[in-house]
Point group: C2
Chain length 448, copies 2
């Protein structure tokens, strides 16, 4: 225990440097002596330090001060009653990112006067006439800075989140005069919302056809390729590979906090969202990068019919946030901490804690990933996805979601992802106090 205590203190010092990368392999060697709750206590001390070190900035801004101190106080009260509390990790609510944006203060604050953005139109010269030019500019810049997607000679279509763009893509890619709806497939485990979004209106244009692995039907089809994949985090390619296939690449998680950037993606139709890149899910802003002009036109038409465009307020705010992210990457000394370094390190810590908890419990497994070189962070690392795809290894547990619900941990069952209910998806992006309570509780689930 002494040896482990020293290790924990070393770990805490690293935490104090705001989660600088550490090799934690040696921690695994002493897994027998693991005490996750002790680690968490140490993390709490580190969090207090971070909060305290921010106080100079905080005092300049009363709004931040009161809000973050209140939440800090609430977090303490919750921690005391932690054992009673339900931990909801069913949704991928990206509140983990609040910490970074609070730390960066008013850099991303936006002021919108009352007479701004009254018109439906943003840029009548653009195919996507409701796309704010400033937002488009910052999307292009960020992809260049990160190197994760080609934007030259492509159309950008903005959407009310990438969910709307996914539907716009289905509308644009489906033949309008076919005798039957085109099949929409994705390799299981696939994003749980794909089937219900595709089929909710019983469209005559397209129809959910399930797992791409078992798709045998002849003729045209649309394959959704989510890479890295939601829920399991693996990098993916299409699996059907027939010449009548049309591909939609959902690259919501192709950012350096989650996975190595190995090349700028260059697919026909790629979807991105601020919800998962910067954490601003409440903005409801996504974008598509589209090669074909006719497809971009039809996607725009769908969004016109569906919502007559996309909130200008959120586009302007997203433009500012993306700008600050790019600035942080280009000159970290004067422009604040590199956004991706910060969030990468947060997730690295969370994944280490999860693996430690899983090891201590002995009842679960999580995916093992191979490291890969990241052209953006310029080092090798293993994927650290936004979701953990956890398997209940106990023979008697067939429904892992129910099992964890009995422990007051809400997750999403594998069955919603076209997979076994022995698996569950867990959000890795919740606030610290929730996440820490979760790993603590998980580590205490031991064989009876």
């Amino acid at each position: 225990m002494l040896c482990f205590g020293t290790l924990v203190l070393k770990f805490s010092r690293e935490m104090g440097k705001i989660f600088h990368v550490v090799s934690l392999k040696h921690l695994l060697l002493v897994s027998v002596a693991l005490n996750v709750s002790l680690i968490l206590r140490v993390i709490n001390i580190s969090e207090k330090k971070i909060l305290h070190s921010n106080s100079a900035h905080v005092s300049k801004n009363i709004q931040l001060s009161s809000s973050s101190l209140t939440s800090f106080a609430n977090a303490r009260i919750e921690a005391q009653n932690g054992e009673e509390r339900v931990i909801n990790l069913d949704h991928g609510d990206p509140t983990m990112y609040e910490k970074y944006w609070q730390q960066e203060g008013d850099k991303t604050t936006i002021v919108i006067p009352g007479w701004q953005s009254l018109s439906y139109f943003s840029d009548v010269s653009n195919i996507c006439w409701f796309l704010e030019p400033e937002f488009a500019k910052e999307v292009v810049r960020l992809h260049k800075v990160v190197g994760n997607a080609i934007t030259e000679n492509r159309h950008i279509v903005v959407g009310t989140g990438s969910t709307q763009l996914f539907q716009a893509a289905l509308y644009a890619l489906s033949p309008q005069d076919a005798l039957e709806p085109i099949s929409v497939v994705s390799a299981a485990p696939y994003y749980s919302s794909y089937p219900s979004i595709t089929d909710c209106l019983k469209s005559g244009l397209y129809k959910w056809a399930g797992d791409a692995h078992s798709f045998k039907k002849e003729g045209p089809y649309i394959e959704l390729v989510t890479s890295p994949n939601n829920p399991d985090g693996f990098v993916r390619q299409s699996v059907v590979n027939r010449n009548e296939g049309i591909l939609v690449h959902d690259l919501a998680y192709y950012w350096p906090q989650y996975t190595s950037i190995s090349f700028p993606a260059d697919h026909d139709l790629m979807l991105f969202t601020v919800s998962k890149s910067t954490g601003h899910a409440g903005m409801r802003i996504g974008w598509a990068i589209v090669k074909d002009t006719e497809v971009a036109k039809k996607m725009t038409k769908y969004i016109e019919l569906n919502t007559i465009g996309v909130s200008k307020d959120s586009q302007l705010r997203a433009a500012k946030v993306l700008k600050v992210v790019s600035n942080s990457c280009e000159s970290s000394s004067s422009e604040g901490e590199n956004f991706f370094e910060f969030s990468h390190n947060q997730l690295a810590t969370r994944w280490e804690l999860l693996r430690l908890a899983v090891q201590k419990s002995g009842q679960f497994t999580v995916p093992e990933f191979a490291p890969q070189f990241c052209t953006f962070l310029r080092r090798d690392f293993k994927p650290q996805p936004a979701f953990a795809w956890l398997k209940c290894e106990q023979e008697e547990v067939n429904d892992c979601e129910s099992f964890l619900r009995s422990k007051k941990i809400l997750t999403r069952s594998g069955k919603h992802f076209g997979f076994s209910p022995k698996y569950i998806r867990i959000s890795m992006l919740d606030r610290d106090q929730n996440y820490n309570l979760f790993v603590q509780r998980l580590s205490n689930i031991i064989s009876s």
Copy 2:
């Protein structure tokens, strides 16, 4: 001409008082001598006065100053080349309202810090979990202030404009397991987007079935009642009236700038939008007032599937705008000019000008309305809709839209509204310089 000149000067003095209500009946008596372009020149002088009188405020705010002066300068250049310019009044883009919001200065300015609204969730205790409580509060307050809708014991569902809510209503009201899609009807002339929105995905749940007047099919149906109606401005009730009918009331224009408020509307499902009430179309915010809990749940589900909620930024901004509108109604002296008085007077002037131009031209007609008492403005007035439903009376003109296009005036043909192409819809909500150029050009279309 002298007599008319005096009249015009009187009219211009009234304009100088920022469009206070005047009885203009006597103007019609001298219609033979009408010179619309002279009136417009006088209005231009009045506009300059208004802009000048705002300069004290403007100087406090560089952003407003530069933006409005630039547009003012541009307007002058455009006016010089007015005859060459295409006037686009096809869309109901509500830029007329910019003037009021500029006049009110920073009352509706909103500041959003970077760490706000990261979560998908707004209020997990509400059926509509993405509804910002502050927005809901201001919606309820405004309806109480104006007296145009009952909100007590109703659910509020927020949408990305009322267009999304219309689709949410179709989803919620359609039987999920019917053998064939439910019929969706509306009395012609109906809103031109209803058919294309309803049928764009070839839904198996619902199907556009055309003009409600000629709908004879037995069984359940959904009837859309737009009141006041888009395009013609008449107050409406359902026309099918069979017991299996389900009604959706689109009340986007049931506000005192357009029509008399005669009672608080109390229908099962009512749709409203900021685009037409306050003019903030770029926000993409609408709301539904819903009696039935299950319907509210299903509408929420649709919006969850369609866009995972609604922009928080725009909801917060809309809350502030509605608050300022309510404040302006409750104490006009300290809280700025009553929003509805201001915009009512703007539209009153525009309708007078339109009727004068129509009379001078002799080639067109517009609807005649009966006056009705308004419980909000506490006086009788005739409807002054957001659109003019204009008819080409020339025998040789069958396609009014093409005819006006040849005069470089873009409008929407009656055929899109399930009606005769001898009719067109014209937006009454464009900016002053565009609208004034339009009436001037219309007045000059005379029989050859």
